[in-house]
Amino acid sequence: MKIVVCVKQVPDTAAKIAVDNGKIAWGDAPLVINPWDEYGVEAALQMKESQGATVTAITIGGESAVDALKHALAMGCDDAILINDPALATMDTQVVAQILSSAVRKLDAVDLVFFGREGVDGNSGLVASQTARLLGFASLTLASVVKFEAGTLRVERATEEGRQIVTSKLPAVMSIVKDYGEPRYPSFMGIRKASKAVIPIWTLADLGMAAPNPVVSTIEILNPPSREVNCEIISGTPGEIADKLVEKILAEKVL
């Protein structure tokens, strides 16, 4: 089996994110592999362990994004590719999907492409389905359980209404949610291997692509409206607290 896992580098979720001079700033917080993508890597590695496969991690980004790939390699991916091109300074999800689908085609005969459910930065959650659509692959998003038996993929999807069971043939694109199970930590041997890995860089020319044209553009970024909240502390015996609080909540007319 030939497996691709797509990852992204993002600011750590504990970072204090704010708008600074019209740009998004995250202070000195580290850039890390998107936490959701670690579940994608884990699912790819478990598929490799059960079926036998090579797993290639791909990211699009600047040179620093190599660190996200090294994390994936240290977890156990076999190789990694960085897609880096100055023409990719601004992208939308459609452009990202075009690039990733071109990379999957170039790798040739890929059976499965794994993603995390969304980036913790843009919160779009669109790229897995869009990549599937461009490739003509089955799209199995939000998977919490993944099984492959007798040529059929069987997943449980975490939807709003419960765990939906969906099947498809290969090739397929999947996005993996947290219910899948904790991603493994990089092993000591894995970290050593990743630190020595030579990661090839593909440009748009390598993918045979012209610079894609994003249709979604950002006009402005803003800090969210500040919430001036003065917390009113309610005290007394439990019974007194309950009576006062219930009265206040009913007066807010939110029920």
Partner: protein, 337 residues
């Protein structure tokens, strides 16, 4: 301006956000076409008119019984030679995936999880939260149709006008399926977090009731989970009196107290109910990112310095195991339950 609105439903019951989307499209002065796909769903077309749709594209086919994004996208993409200026869908698992595929099939782009919308000529300028609401971003789409998913409860639900009707056009289903829906392994009976007007959430603190004696024979971890389950019972009691959805912090989910589907926060669900009651939740930045846009926040925590009090309108510094049952009882009496 012509806008198509995807009338999302689960087994024939429309999502409230579908009607919010119809109302939003009408408020832009658009001619609105409802997209009703499914099996035995003609009643939804009737409802779409009553909520404001001018016409409906109906694809009623047993093959559309289960939502499958690739089938629905192909059907909608083939629905009319006259493409609309915009297509609006709800932001949920179906709406997001369908929007994603429509953008590929119709060579356009998606403005996802929108909480604010204005019109500049025939362009939609949308506002949407990114970084789980730590930042707001204004965006537009230069191609057409502009595909937009609306966050639930961010826009008002329009009034329903009984008996209003319109023209229904039947659209053939495009059966280019790549997936098969086999059914449901489990089905969550409770109120969905995204649609909930009231959420009661529990955190790590719910496992700290010192007066509880776990059954004999449990090891330390099992005893902790048993304690937590007793604590979440109190959260659940208040939830059911208020008709609320039950939420949880990441710490509670990671500790195994409650399934992930209840997690509120940056790596869970982002919610904005009218009332959010946080019990035993200290308020990590990732949790606050997921609930701080709630209208009224109530925090119950034994630590007066917990960050949750910085976003709360009302706070109780105290023991949730005595306060929570008292609040549940008081609501029962006041609400006549």
């Amino acid at each position: 301006m012509n806008i198509w609105v995807f009338i999302d439903h689960f087994k024939g019951t429309a999502l409230p956000t579908s009607w919010e989307a119809v109302g939003t499209a009408k408020s832009l002065g658009a001619t609105v076409t409802g997209l009703v796909l499914g099996s035995g769903v003609e009643a939804l077309a009737k409802q779409a008119f009553e909520y404001g749709a001018d016409s409906v594209f109906l694809s009623d086919d047993v093959a559309l019984t289960d939502f499958r994004a690739e089938v629905f996208s192909a059907t909608i993409a083939a629905a009319g030679a006259d493409r609309p200026d915009a297509i609006i869908l709800p932001t949920n698992s179906r709406g997001r995936e369908l929007a994603a595929m429509l953008a590929i099939d119709l060579k356009s782009g998606v403005l996802v999880d929108v909480t604010g919308l204005e019109l500049a000529g025939d362009r939609l300028i949308v506002t949407r939260p990114i970084y789980s609401g730590k930042i707001m971003q204004k965006e537009m789409c230069s191609a057409k149709p502009q595909i937009v998913t609306l966050r639930g409860r961010a826009f008002p639900k329009p009034a329903q006008t009984d008996g209003k009707t319109g023209e229904i056009r039947n659209i053939p289903a495009k059966l280019e399926a790549l997936t098969t829906v086999e059914g449901y392994a489990t089905s969550d009976g409770g109120v969905s977090l995204a649609d909930a007007g009231v959420i009661v959430s529990g955190g790590r603190g719910v496992s700290n009731n010192p007066s509880l004696q776990p059954p004999a024979g449990l090891d330390e971890k099992a005893a902790e989970i048993w304690r937590a389950q007793q604590g979440f019972k109190l959260v659940g009691d208040l939830s059911s009196v208020l008709g609320a959805a039950m939420g949880a912090s990441r710490a509670a989910v990671d500790a195994g107290y409650i399934p992930y589907s209840h997690q509120v926060g940056q790596t869970g669900k982002v919610v904005s109910p009218d009332l959010y009651i946080a019990c035993g939740i200290s308020g990590a930045i990732q949790h606050l990112a997921g609930m701080r846009s709630s209208k009224v926040i109530v925090a119950i925590n034994k630590d007066a310095d917990a960050p949750i009090f910085k976003v709360a309108r009302y706070g109780v510094v105290g023991d949730l195991f005595t306060v929570l049952p008292a609040i549940t009882e008081a609501f029962k009496q006041k609400l006549g339950k």
